[in-house]
Amino acid sequence: MEAVNKILPEDELVGLIKNEPSTGIAHLYDQYSPALFGIITKIVEEQETAEDLLQEVFVKIWKNIQSYDKSKGKLFTWMLNIARNSAIDKLRSKDYQKSDKVQSIDKSVYNINKTHSITNNIDHIGLAKFVEQLKPEHQTIIDLLYFKGYTQSEAAEELAIPLGTVKTRVKIAITQLKKITGL
């Protein structure tokens, strides 16, 4: 494996991508590709599609870095949203749904614990363990809404619970997450 570049703060990374795009993207890749690839594979599952999407996401970041606005949020949040939206768009696209590669959405949702994840080199291992403290029902609700792009009513139907319960679960799940990650 190649040597990992020094970890750069977000501001420096943004500047580097603007001024020396390929060096900047290489740094960005070292720092964030596991997180972005993780989200993508979580959503689309199929390896080849996930790799294409990862490339698409880096191209989008390079192309749109001028419109990233620090005052509106962290670079990491911005990139996660690009990755998540690209993957959900792909998941919903007709040609992807038609292909045999894709397993049913319901099935993939419940595969949350079947991780093909090799936890990455940044210090996330500890955090990942904390996240495991979240009850499975709370993980499932976040996975459906955040990673699968379900609406709350779709989630209610999928889990056969009332809409009100979905709303409460979302609120509790995120409050728990905030507690866990605020350590």
């Binding site: 192309k63 962290k74 949203n81 939206n85 990942a128 996240v131 809404l145 709303k167």
Partner: protein, 270 residues
Amino acid sequence: MNIEEYISSGILESYVLGITSEQENMEIEGLAVQYSEIKSEIKSIEQALNTYSLKYSATPPAYMKDKIVSTIETLEETKHRRDDEKMVNIKSQKSFDYKVLLIAASVLLLITASFYINRLSEKMNSLKDIVASLAVANDSLSQTLYAQHSKQQQTEKSLALLKNPMNKMVELKGLPKKPDSKAMIIWNTASKEVYVEIENLPPPPDNMQYQLWALMDGKPIDAGMIELPKDSSEMIKMKSIEQAQAFAITLEKKGGNPSPQGEMYVMGSI
């Protein structure tokens, strides 16, 4: 409004999860500009979900890094080449001054004409022809001048808007779903006039139209329908707006809606 109640209502969680409606999004983004508590609550929810996402971290295959970096290199090269070509085009356009050429041609025709009048009075007929062609040249010259004049007026109007110190410029940036969309608002805080310049928005479907909104205390105020101009650098005059904290553009049915229903493309706070 009661901020604590709003925060505990659960709507901000839904917003960060991306499951709120376009109208709710606008309200929340407007309120986030106004109330720092709401902004920091959104940030902490985002942070929580970021951390949750890391649970799924998965290292991509080693060959992906080279593949991606070399794709970016290729795209950069293509972009530079295109920029260079554009520069060359602009330069060659500038050095070719059509007006001067037309004037020179007219002057030349005049000289030739007077030469003929003095020296070859017997060739009156051909002289008439020359005068006629001179008139044609003059016509096209004045047409060119007229076209340039109206274009110049347009530019001067835009420049005056930009120079006026009462004018606030607001850059509307693409939302994560439409990151390359872009528009610019000029809002005169004295006369309350609003102008919009569309820098990049996808052409709307036939039955749809872009609508501009001003946001005040989270409530969207209709600022009019946008008639996309042929020339993208044109400033379009919109409805006057008394008070605003932010502006946004959504795609609505033709003729617009009293409150935003369609997808939001760009947004920017003042």
